[in-house]
């Protein structure tokens, strides 16, 4: 548990935040200038808050009242910076081992395992300057993990990469983040990244926390889904793998009382999995469709219909265990006479369900 309550003033800008991040990933989103970097610097010990306290699993890292300010090296917080900050005069191997050599007593994951998970085995003898941006970030992540941290900070680790590199590195990040049981603060301005990786969300604006909590609820509460990412808007739900269809290469997951089929054989029965339903891929029907190619038909109750400006309407459907959102036209909403309380069927093509 990372417990933070700090304030810091620098010129006209002031940061004033209080939150607790449990083990697992908590995303911190906000526009540039919202105070994200200041927050990271304060927690890491690179900038001193004016007032407040920072505790990590019972260890006091900073307490203005008691005059405690643990130096950076003793905080044991692994930081992955936006610009990777690999040491240019050292090989990839030496970079990875930099922290471990200095904290032999700290519990850290096995070197070989981290190297394998991050897929950097073939780079070990190279120097950072000969690596691609994505490779550099992977090494930087490994370096932080191997230093035996008690918490991890990611400061916009993908912001400097192009879309292709991001797509290359995200699966590695996901895999690693599932494995570690540390508090992880993941700072980003990309909501999609936060959704994919985090369970908790903190929304910063002008140095204050304007919303915090479980990720989907917080996004909804803060009204973050703007017109710009309307088409990527959607929800992430927790499901359990229930069965496998080896013949057709499908996996069936239990979600509430429903069975959701997704393409590909993933995991083993009983494993948890996160599914992502994009609002534009969810359709609404008043009757269950007969003879349709759509494999996933989830009965539910309309919770709300939000009509915005323009031709769109957003319908939330409680299917038991999850609330899906469907992006439909206003005309469709009117013709189906959708209103809260109405029993409907949410239709999702299997190929449109992705693992989040």
């Amino acid at each position: 548990m990372l417990d933070v309550e700090i304030s810091r003033r620098a010129g006209a800008f002031s940061l004033d935040v209080a939150f607790a991040a449990p083990a697992g990933v908590t995303a911190v989103v906000g526009r540039s200038g919202a105070g994200k970097s200041t927050l990271v610097a304060a927690v890491a010990g690179l900038a001193r808050p004016d007032e407040g306290h920072i505790d990590l699993d019972g260890t006091v890292l900073f307490d203005s009242g008691a005059g405690v300010n643990l130096p950076v090296r003793k905080r044991r917080i692994g930081v992955v910076f936006q610009e990777s900050r690999l040491f240019p005069h050292l090989s990839v191997r030496s970079n990875l081992l930099f922290g471990r050599r200095r904290r032999r007593d700290a519990a850290a994951p096995a070197f070989d395992q981290v190297v394998e998970t991050l897929g950097v085995g073939h780079l070990l003898s190279r120097r950072p300057r000969s690596l691609s941006g994505g490779e550099r970030q992977r090494v930087a992540i490994g370096r932080a993990l191997l230093s035996g941290p008690r918490a991890l900070l990611f400061d916009e680790p993908l912001a400097a990469l192009d879309a292709e590199r991001k797509a290359e590195i995200l699966p590695f990040l996901e895999a690693l983040i599932q494995e570690v049981s540390l508090p992880v603060l993941y700072v980003t301005h990309a909501l999609e990244e936060a959704r994919r990786l985090a369970r908790g969300l903190i929304v910063l604006e002008g140095g204050r926390i304007v919303a915090a909590g479980a990720i989907e609820e917080t996004i909804a509460a803060a009204g973050l889904a703007s017109a710009g990412d309307r088409l990527l808007d959607g929800v992430t739900v927790e499901a359990t793998i229930a069965e496998r269809d080896e013949r057709y290469g499908l996996t069936g997951l239990a979600l509430g009382g429903h069975r959701v089929w997704v393409p590909g054989l993933i995991g083993a029965p009983g494993d948890p999995a996160r599914l992502r339903f994009l609002a534009r891929d969810v359709a609404i029907a008043l009757d269950p469709p007969q003879r349709s190619s759509v494999r996933n038909v989830l009965s539910g109750v309309v919770r709300g219909v939000k009509r915005g400006d323009g031709p769109y309407a957003s319908v939330s459907v409680d299917v038991g265990g999850a609330v899906l959102r469907a992006e439909i036209t206003r005309r469709a909403a009117a013709e189906l006479d959708l209103a809260p309380g109405r029993v409907v069927y949410a239709l999702v093509k299997s190929v449109a369900v992705s693992r989040a």
Partner: protein, 207 residues
């Protein structure tokens, strides 16, 4: 060469430190650069001579004598080259990316750990350049040396002093010419060696 660790220390203090008297230290270090060498030599003679306050103390405690010995010539050369060395090292230290040092600290490196594992390796080309500059300066040092330790054959006769002596001696031209060639060869060799090393280091370090 012995002055290198001191130069690194002073350069660190000047590049990174914040302390009262920093400007004074800065001025003091640069003094030999702007003073006439003869004045520096005279001050050394007063300070480090057998009757001088520092010279006397050093002889009493460690038996080290500077005046009119080769050690004195080395001291004079070191002092004259010192500002050049400090300047070059300081510049390269200031050019080291502080964010890398921060990153090292988050990985558990102590301040000295950061210095030896990150800062100094990255500043190495500058340290090397400083050392070569100081070496060249020391090789050519004449005024302070001759004032401080005179020109004693086999003890304090440095290369420039020897050349000067030979040119003042009838028939010494040939010998002087040989020494001049040696001086040129030494300087060139130092310059080329440092250039090669610096290039290799730079290509290793370039991020």
């Amino acid at each position: 060469m012995a002055s290198l660790p001191f130069a690194v220390l002073v350069a660190l203090a000047l590049a990174r430190g914040r302390f009262p008297g920093k400007a004074l230290l800065d001025g003091l270090v640069h003094l030999p650069l702007v003073l006439p060498p003869v004045v520096t030599g005279y001050l050394l003679l007063i300070g480090f001579g057998r009757r001088g306050p520092i010279g006397e103390a050093l002889e009493a405690c460690c038996g080290v004598v500077f005046s009119f010995r080769w050690t004195g010539a080395a001291l004079a050369a070191g002092i004259m080259g010192f500002p050049l060395m400090v300047r070059a090292i300081r510049l390269s230290l200031e050019a080291v990316d502080r964010r890398l040092e921060d990153a090292a600290a988050t990985l558990g490196a102590s301040r000295t750990g950061v210095l030896f594992a990150v800062t100094l390796p990255l500043a190495l080309p500058g340290v090397l350049a400083g050392a070569v500059l100081a070496f060249a300066k020391a090789l050519g040092e004449f005024g302070a040396t001759i004032t401080f330790v005179s020109n004693i054959p086999g003890e304090t006769r440095t290369l420039p002093a020897a050349i000067y002596t030979l040119t003042q001696t009838p028939g010494g031209d040939a010998a002087a010419g040989k020494l001049v060639l040696i001086a040129i060869a030494l300087s060139l060799a130092a310059l080329i060696a440092s250039e090669l090393l610096a290039r290799r280091l730079a290509s290793r370090i370039a991020g």
